[in-house]
Subunit: 212 residues, 2 copies
């Protein structure tokens, strides 16, 4: 059986879980506490020198890293990945957008608010992260003025990639009320067959998010 | 004929030029001065709301953005993109690594040193960018201990994606002498058929790089 090494409350990791649940595939989930150094051990770095989760492991021990590459691999040959070259390229384009222009702001703001001490100097970055993250959400809002999905004619890998952290954007201090088309798209994703929500954060993280 | 909107001295843009030259494809290059706001005009934003280069334009006017998505699209059906699913996923994984863990440090350090004033407050970020960029170069060095290329058995899209800014890393203040396998791989890329170097930066940028 394939295995996923991941931190359940990480959006990058939840992408993989969500697709596997929607595909109805069997998998083992190995919880890795990446917020507390578990991806920096010699054993983990020997398998993934970049020291990140998620990591997909095949039955024969080979591994694949980078959440969006894992999504593409698992979705190959299914309706979640377009087969037509231009549409596939557009889906991939949104996945690169997610990793370069969205995740470093929307996800990092959530991480700082939920996983760093209330007096962390990193909190000084939050106004800049909110500004840049809102720019990314505005790009998504503009796309949704003439499209239902990011992957193509239907829901798929690019929607899963963008959903993970957008759905938790309020944890990072974002006001999704400013982005009504994004909010409606989030609701469409949540209504898809096999949808699985991200597991709840710990009480400690929830308390920090409430105090931030 | 297809067209590429790009800034010639941007590594993200040069990736597209390099592949097109190696494919022997005809294309128009439309120079866009993204360092001075040319991607922030209403006309440009109407075509690419994320306001970045490169942008590929087909004969019928449709556009594709994100450098690594453009590489995958142009390489489809050629030897530059693996067809086998696992190897294709590994190539894609290196491209996501490039955009998330490499470009934001290696390319941004170069941009700050070459394109911002010598007294820019952004220069305070350089030590952190060098540290993180060296981590990315170390991950590449480790891979090259047991492989010749990043794309698969042969040279291809992931090598092009990683080459662009790695080859200019010294502009950002990196010492490639610390990474002998990376240096040897750069030389292998430069020796590939159809290889085209990045155009030289302006005298103004060259002077800033020399003074940094």
């Amino acid at each position: 059986m394939i295995a996923v090494y991941g931190m359940s409350t990480s959006g990058n990791c939840h992408k993989v879980r969500l697709l596997l649940e929607q595909l109805g595939r069997e998998y083992r989930w190995i919880e890795v506490d990446s917020a507390n150094g578990a991806t920096r051990t010699p054993e983990y770095l020997a398998r993934n020198p970049n020291g990140k989760v998620p990591m997909l492991e095949l039955e024969d021990g080979r591994v694949l890293v980078e959440s969006d590459a894992i999504l593409c691999y698992l979705a190959e040959g299914t309706d979640y990945l377009p087969t037509e070259a231009w549409q596939r390229a557009q889906a991939l384009s949104w996945m690169f957008f997610e990793q370069y222009s969205h995740e470093p702001y929307v996800a990092v703001a959530r991480f700082i608010r939920g996983w760093t001490p209330l007096d962390s100097p990193r909190r000084a970055d939050l106004p800049r992260l909110i500004e840049r993250g809102e720019q990314a959400l505005a790009v998504m809002e503009k796309h949704l003025a003439s499209a239902q999905w990011f992957t193509g004619a239907g829901y798929g890998v690019a929607d899963i990639a963008l959903f993970a952290y957008t759905d938790r954007a309020e944890d990072g201090g974002f006001d999704l009320g400013k982005f009504p088309l994004v909010s409606a798209w989030l609701a469409r994703v949540r209504a898809m067959p096999g949808f699985t929500p991200m597991p709840a954060v710990s009480d400690e993280v929830a308390a920090r998010l409430a105090s931030s």
